[in-house]
């Protein structure tokens, strides 16, 4: 466990959990102190189960959890610290504030380690940090969604936790409050030197807030990395689907060339060139993707020869749909057999005129923009 020892020195979290049932789990997490780590996956992917296991509310069959140099859970040794003894702060999805207690008493309830006479003042001081000083006496039912979330975060931090867990904390909020509270969380995490785990199914949220993220499906951690790395170079088609990657296609490898090193993919009668050699033997069913921003559109395409020389991948077809959104336009391009590529264009007036649906066109993209991955994880 040299890896674990190294993490523990930095007051981080290391967890490995496994069970085949009742809830399938095969999860590895390593989150250093100070990192905001997003757990992302579709509903039913085991995000919340994993979070509950970390908090001590769910006991998996096998695995270990260590945080801040302390072992919280070790199935093999029958060691399982109760939630009360784990020094963990958990913000529940619907906040789970104690409905009969004021905001201050909700926070004070988690201040068991503070001498009783000092609790009320400590709770108020914490609430004040979240701009809730004036609302200390209010019952949760009289608070707005955003205020409740702040009380829940204050309560979770009241224990001086070694690990902060946030279970979809923005899901129950309207868009404006959500944006505001995301900024608050970004500011808060800079003050905290503990691992923070944010469960979300919102990719945009994960990308905006997280240092790194782990993709979960059916209880399995599929890939861990920075949001940018995962979104441009997913480890498998499963990861690509979870992060809702656009322009994801199935193909078959044809082997490759050495100079330059490249991989050739047979796809709908075309040959797609991807930069770099891969370990897939020829004839392997694979998935490939190209980031929308890497696609160049050539409207009014003439013969293929008229297109810029040296572009690795040229696909002819027609424009499907053009959607104009605030500040950007999104074009759907249909290849000869109907496969759809999506990519952004400047909005009307900010660049070349937008193509019209039905128009013949071609797209090009470079070989090094193409990412090849296994179909299954």
């Amino acid at each position: 466990m040299a890896e674990a020892a190294a993490w523990q020195e930095t007051r981080g979290l290391v967890a490995r959990l496994a069970e085949s049932g009742p809830i399938p789990l095969d999860a590895r997490l390593a989150v250093p102190a100070g990192e905001l780590h997003a757990l992302i996956g579709p509903s039913g992917s085991g995000k919340t189960t994993l979070l509950r296991a970390l908090a001590g509310l769910y006991r998996p069959r096998a695995g270990t959890i260590a945080c801040a140099g302390e072992t919280w859970f070790d199935a093999a040794r029958g060691h399982d610290l109760s939630p009360q003894r784990r020094r963990v702060g958990l913000v529940f999805q619907h906040y789970a504030l104690f409905p009969h207690l004021s905001a201050a008493d909700n926070v004070a309830a988690a201040l068991g380690h503070v001498p009783r006479p000092a609790r009320s003042a400590a709770a108020r001081a914490l609430l004040a940090q979240f701009g809730l000083a004036a609302l200390a006496e209010r019952l949760p039912a009289t608070l707005s969604g955003g205020e409740r979330q702040r009380v829940a975060v204050a309560r979770a931090l009241a224990r001086d936790p070694a690990l902060l867990l946030l279970d979809e904390p923005f899901a129950a909020l309207d868009a404006r409050t959500r944006r505001h509270l995301r900024q608050e969380l970004a500011a808060l995490r800079r003050r905290l030197s503990i691992p923070i785990i944010l469960v979300t199914h919102d990719l945009e949220e994960a990308a905006a807030l997280a240092d790194r993220m782990t993709v979960l499906e059916h209880g399995r951690t599929l890939q861990t990395g920075t949001p940018a790395a995962i979104m441009t170079r997913p480890a498998s088609a499963a990861v690509a689907r979870v992060v809702d990657l656009q322009n994801l296609f199935a193909g078959e490898t044809l082997g490759g060339g050495e100079t330059p090193p490249e991989t050739l993919i047979a796809w709908h009668g075309e040959i797609i060139r991807a930069a770099g050699r891969t370990n897939f033997p020829p004839g392997t069913a694979i998935a490939w993707t190209v980031p929308p921003a890497a696609i160049t559109l050539h409207a009014d395409a003439g013969p293929k020869d008229a297109l810029p020389k040296g572009t690795a991948n040229i696909i002819a077809g027609r424009i499907g749909e053009v959607a104009v959104l605030p500040g950007i336009a999104r074009v759907v391009f249909l290849a000869g057999d109907g496969a759809a590529f999506v990519f952004p264009r400047p909005p009307p007036g900010a660049g070349p005129p937008l193509p019209r649906p039905g128009e013949a066109a071609a797209i090009t993209f470079a070989a090094d923009a193409v990412h090849v991955m296994p179909l299954t994880a």
Partner: protein, 222 residues
């Protein structure tokens, strides 16, 4: 007005409600918050007194309490009198008959507490006992009071079981409901009427209380 019968009913109702209160809280909490083998069976058994005719419940209890039964023999040895046709027997019968009236409202009020609330208490560092006392009990109290009120009112008016098990011995087992029956049998309409009115007021008061408390259950919105 038969004050002896009325006082006896009050005593029976009060004793039943006081004894069933802790049992109802323990059983109601367990049924609401835990999953265990045979839970459905336990719930069905608890509800049995609601659907069986009181005379049938009374008959079985009479058999169980009788001088020929092990329980009856044991009771006779320990206390020197039979369980059947005694106030103690009435209390025991009343406890059994009122189980669903006490347990069900309490179970419902504990079930209305979201599991996350309980877990939030644990994650906040509260022990299971502290979470129960400081979080669950205050949230469930309207249901607990409702269970007590309904048990009390129902015992005040219980007739079939009381008649079968107690036999209507004045000062020992002749409750107000049986007194009403006796008066009606002897065509004493005004005596029966006064006591019936009193029971009606009691029942209405209890239901009013339950209604009021019911409005409080789940009114908090976390």
């Amino acid at each position: 007005m038969e004050w002896t019968a009325f006082a006896l009913s009050l005593e029976l109702a009060g004793t039943t409600a006081v004894i069933l209160l802790p049992f109802g809280v323990i059983a109601g909490r367990a049924l609401a918050a835990r999953d265990f083998a045979g839970k459905g069976m336990v719930q069905a058994l608890l509800a049995l007194p609601l659907v069986l005719p009181p005379s049938v419940v009374g008959y079985y209890l009479l058999v169980a309490f009788g001088a020929a039964s092990p329980l009856g023999v044991l009771w006779q040895k320990m206390f020197g009198h039979t369980l059947a046709f005694s106030f103690s027997g009435l209390v025991l019968a009343s406890l059994i008959v009122n189980l669903p009236f006490a347990v069900q409202p309490i179970e419902r009020s504990f079930a209305a507490i979201a599991p996350e609330i309980r877990e939030a208490a644990w994650v906040s560092g509260l022990s299971h006992w502290a979470a129960f006392l400081r979080i669950e009990l205050p949230l469930a109290w309207p249901g607990i009071l409702a269970g007590v009120a309904i048990t009390f009112a129902h015992t005040m008016g219980e007739f079939g079981v009381v008649l079968m098990v107690g036999g209507g011995i004045p000062g020992e087992t002749r409750t107000v409901a049986i007194a009403i029956y006796d008066h009606a049998q002897t065509l004493d309409g005004s005596g029966a009427g006064r006591m019936s009115l009193l029971l009606l007021v009691f029942a209405l008061a209890a239901l009013g209380l339950v209604q009021m408390l019911g409005g409080r259950v789940g009114r908090h919105d976390g």
